[in-house]
Point group: C2
Chain length 528, copies 2
């Protein structure tokens, strides 16, 4: 080999080694980021346990100290996340991301964290404290207003909250509507414009469809569900159903709380709760399946990615799609109850031996416009959400005044659901969200239902005899499909990418509309 | 007034104001310390909840992540406690303490925190990590050795632990024996010399007293306790007893765990656990009373002092005195069972209707030398502790070798208890403490029993008809006495001051000896 060739080879070596050197430095930085995120996630998991305990087992008088423990932990997390060292690290990695130097997985981590970090940095500590103080007070005042059924009690606080949320939007920045800066917290990349289009399609379908149902004059007897159901047996059956659809009790728990919820500390410790009603067994079953749906998502996240966005659920909308899919598309379907109705009869023979599966199926699927969102059926639920979305968007954009809320609420309820609101408690004051400053949260419920229908439709087309499987008490293939197409990806893909990979197209209202049309067309004997 | 007088007055004012200025600065510093301590305590409470959950409700697979969450929290607490800002603050306050500028309460806070802080500062991070890693591994190895009943499996790890604990003593510093640096963690100010004197007195009494009992040839039938006791009923009764002696369920919980324990997150959230044995109801009752005794102490600490040493239990010895007093001096006494035995009979009529109170009382107080410390009676318990104290002191002082432990253990057991140890599992490997690096912990059990007898004797002399009250199911005056004399003081006084204020003299073995002599003299019909 000539001297020149040798020198050239040396040069290549040097260049190669410089590149490798750079890559090692980058890998080191990325490892440091992962270690810091893991620590933050463990601290957040600890916070989540404090919350879970607060809702389930904490003694009455423990509340005051618990609130302080929670705020101490929140301050630790905030300080670590916005520390100069963390800022330096994430800023450096972000510049490497922008240069295209990161692989797909690393890019996802840095992109997601950078987004959260930038948002957090834009909000001054005093602003966060003011908001947190205001909403903490507002919670009590809202509860009092609801008890008194008097919106005027809540009005000044709500005005203050909206002022702060508009300020938040200004601080964070947005395109088009300030509402976009808020919905982004719950459903990244979602915009008021896109949501409006989907919701408009839904409204144009649901309002006339509901009228059709009402004019069908079909009378569904829901009184048949009423009874006296032993709580112990309800618990046992709910547990059995959760286990059968795939909830892993070695990696989770099942408890009771006033408001059912799911808390995933990590994929190997995911806890659901439900509530029991002595007079009706269905609410406990239904809410168990709903929470189990959330929990299956959390248990399906990859343990090895725990601590990074790759090991986190994609968005609230996707999360609600998982609970909604199991609760409604599976748990309120005829195939599901073909399997479970005999079992229900074994638990409560004195009650269900007199009732046919068909009558039971219709009773649990009755469509009836009602005042309370959380008690609404599949058809009217979307209208409740639509109403809230329109109002909160207008509030944040400043096109309506807080003082006019009760009137607007009642008017829209009549327009969409055809019923009169008798008082504020069952009207504008029914939900906790706004008192906590959660604007932009409501749409995720409906977005979730749309995703659910689209996912289920895809799963049905890909799994041979899915409904026969369900009717046979087999849920493994469906869960596997959800795991493979949704759960294991964490935040690797955006919602758009995720749904396109799983179903072949972006989110569309059509699957939900088709599902509702078919199911309720059959139940109510509508002409199609 | 003359010009001179006016000038003098001005000077006084100036001096006074300079003093006040100084005092304000000092008060500010002290407030900052309290705020930092409160935050640290809330973080420690969060850690305690993670531990509680781990022992009670955590699903099986949650263990791995939980360990990481716990270590993340521990690191946060350590970093905050040893931060340069914290060091500056506590050092400044310590110099004011040394100058005598602090009031009694402030002085207590600064003195106690300074002590903990100095100890923590003397231990390098690498040392703490090595110790924590070694003991974490040692725990599994000890468990394996115990399962195999083979000390040689555990030996190398124990040697390593003792090497580290001796190093710890060197780093921390000590007078006379390195053991003093270790016992100090559990029982501040206690020394091996003092403990040795007390334990020697005890040994000189217990060994011949046990021989007397054995030669009394009195046969107590403990088989009468055996039965088939419904766990639900055991739970109900245990709960009732805990409540009756003063455990406040609005400020606490009662659950089940493999090893009973008490966890006080704050005075308004104190949780106890117990375990149930289907064949015998007494262990559950007894361990409930023991834990309730700990819990009454925790619930009796002042809420307003939460976060500072003024709101913390004095020492492990004092803590054990509270559990021991309720478990033994109250819960194994005849007056106590005069009240509770009829109630026990209502819960388990098929069992206890055939047995007299006298026979029951004797059965639960049987004295029988046995191999396992945690199953020992009041008379032999002290001998189990004595044996461990002598051995661990010699180990740390280097006068015996780890390799000789089984032989020494077995020899001492025969000497003190008169029984042969059949295997390591029921001998030197029975306790978890050493595998966790807890040297100096064992003596606090006996110190607690001595305090308990001394406190109870004082309470009896100060409360008119205490035993009649107990026989009537009234525990309020006793609890009030404990609250007033012990609980509310937190760490304000040293153990010596505390016991002297409450009982008129320093800790003495005489009350325990008198108590045992009288009680067991009666049960075994011994001549006095």
């Amino acid at each position: 080999m000539s001297a020149v060739a040798l020198a050239e080879e040396d040069e290549v070596r040097v260049r190669f080694s410089a590149l490798r050197q750079k890559q090692f430095v980058l890998m080191d930085k990325f490892s440091e980021l992962k270690a810091r995120l893991l620590e933050l996630t463990h601290l957040s998991s600890s916070t989540a346990l404090l919350h879970w305990d607060l809702e389930t087992y904490m003694p009455k008088r423990g509340a005051a100290a618990r609130a302080r423990s929670l705020s101490s932990l929140a301050a630790v997390i905030h300080d670590k996340f916005t520390s100069p060292e963390f800022e330096k690290l994430i800023t450096e990695l972000k510049s490497n991301l922008d240069k295209g130097l990161l692989g797909e997985a690393e890019a996802c981590v840095v992109r997601e964290i950078w987004r959260d970090f930038s948002r957090e940095k834009k909000l001054p500590r005093e602003f966060i404290e003011e908001l947190s103080l205001t909403t903490a007070e507002a919670h009590h005042i809202w509860a009092e207003a609801r008890r008194k059924s008097d919106f005027s009690v809540f009005r000044p606080k709500l005005e203050k909250i909206i002022e702060l949320k508009r300020k938040e939007a200004e601080l964070v920045g947005y395109k088009n509507s300030p509402y976009n800066a808020l919905i982004d917290v719950y459903e990244k990349d979602a915009t008021a414009e896109e949501v409006s289009i989907l919701f408009e399609e839904l409204k144009n379908f649901l309002v006339p469809f509901l009228k059709k149902i009402e004019s069908s004059k079909k009378n569904i007897d829901t009184e048949i569900l009423k009874g006296d159901y032993d709580i112990g047996k309800q618990r046992e059956l709910s547990r059995e159903i959760a286990e059968k659809i795939g909830f892993d009790f070695e990696k989770g728990r099942f408890d009771e709380s006033t408001h059912p919820f799911t808390s995933g500390f990590n994929p190997e410790d995911v806890r659901i709760t439900t509530r029991f009603d002595k007079r009706d067994v269905f609410p406990a079953i239904s809410s168990t399946i709903h929470e189990a749906g959330h929990a299956l998502y959390e248990q399906g996240l990859k343990v090895k990615h725990f601590g990074t966005p790759l090991g986190e659920s994609r968005s609230l909308g996707i999360h609600e799609s998982q609970s909604g899919l199991w609760e409604n598309l599976v748990g309120k379907s005829l195939p599901f109850w073909k399997y479970w109705y005999p079992r229900l009869g074994e638990f409560f023979p004195e009650h269900f031996s007199k009732i046919s599966l068909g009558d039971f199926y219709k009773a649990i699927n009755v469509v009836r416009p009602s005042l309370i969102r959380t008690e609404a059926d599949e058809v009217t639920y979307g209208l409740h959400v639509l109403l809230r979305f329109e109002i909160e968007k207008d509030l944040i954009e400043g096109s309506i005044e807080v003082g006019d809320l009760p009137e607007i609420w009642n008017q829209k309820t009549e327009e969409l659901l055809g019923i009169k609101v008798p008082d504020d408690a069952r009207g504008v004051l029914q939900d906790v969200h706004w008192s906590g400053g959660s604007f932009g949260y409501f749409p995720t419920y409906t977005i979730g239902n749309l995703y659910a229908a689209q996912f289920y439709s895809a799963a049905k087309s890909q799994i041979l005899d899915l409904e026969e499987e369900i009717a046979g008490g087999q849920f493994g293939h469906l869960l596997e499909w959800l795991r493979k197409n949704i759960h294991i990806h964490g935040k690797l893909y955006s919602q758009d990418e995720l749904v396109t990979r799983a179903t072949g197209e972006k989110l569309s209202s059509k699957y939900f509309i088709d599902y509702i049309t078919k199911k309720y067309g059959e139940i109510y004997g509508l002409k199609t």
